[in-house]
Symmetry: C2
Subunit: 158 residues, 2 copies
């Protein structure tokens, strides 16, 4: 039993969002300094969704929770920025496989490293024990694969 009153319920979601933003903004800032200034916040996650072996626009759309057209546009953008390239699949003439370029792989690697660094900083600030508690709590509160980041859709219109 805690003697102090519980905070209002709306604080928790705001804190969650704010903490998320803080991490992503920080990542974005650092990766911009490392030679990727034209990346948008969610691109790192798109790279993760593409993966090292490539995928197709349709599959990417499924993973990200958006339409295949939207995924196609994202791919087009990333292609113009030089992060991905499209090739044809010899086994299926319909498919066009999206793969990371060297620049894309570089970005993905840097992003992973910076995420680890950020986590290490949080661990130092909070204590590793406490941070694991936090992660564990989040896992229990919202179980499942958090990878479908279909935020645009749900943050957008009905």
């Amino acid at each position: 039993m805690s003697s102090e009153p519980a905070p209002p319920g709306f604080e928790l979601p705001l804190r969650l969002l704010f903490a998320f933003r803080t991490i992503i903004d920080e990542l974005h800032e650092r990766i911009a300094r490392e030679g990727h200034p034209d990346l948008r916040p969610m691109h790192g996650f798109v790279f993760q969704a593409i993966g090292p072996y490539g995928t197709t626009a349709v599959e990417l759309g499924r993973r990200l929770g958006v339409s295949k057209q939207a995924a196609g546009k994202t791919v087009e953008n990333l292609e113009q920025l030089g992060y991905v390239e499209r090739g044809s699949d010899p086994a299926d003439a319909r498919r066009k496989v999206v793969r990371l370029t060297n620049r894309g792989v570089d970005c993905l690697a840097r992003s992973a490293r910076i995420f680890d660094e950020l986590r290490a900083e949080w661990s130092a600030a909070l204590g590793e024990e406490e941070l694991r508690h936090l992660e564990d709590g989040l896992r229990r509160l919202a179980p499942g694969d958090p990878f479908r980041l279909d935020t645009p859709r749900w943050f957008g219109s009905p």
Copy 2:
């Protein structure tokens, strides 16, 4: 020292976002069942930003971290939905005060109640002690007022 290896750094932000989405989706679902089906996810926060005494579009934009024009459009939408109304300020003929209608107040009250209910459910699932730890950790990791939810802008384009 923990003997198990730390999870990859990118898991934490995904968990944060996922937990946030879970709460907001749940709120949205419940408040739709209580007579507010046309509310979009962030409208509850907009109501909070308007507050019980009303505000102006410019001030609302400042609070939400968007341009005054964007805030004005949001107000227009909410006005058409019957959640807010605009009146003139006798003390300043330039200002048009945005106030919640009865329907808006009802929605705000329900939203606050549901947020509290959701927090209570999380408290039951996790233990109040643990939940407070979690909230406290988030406060320490991302200190400051989390109310500026300028996600649209930062999730959008550069």
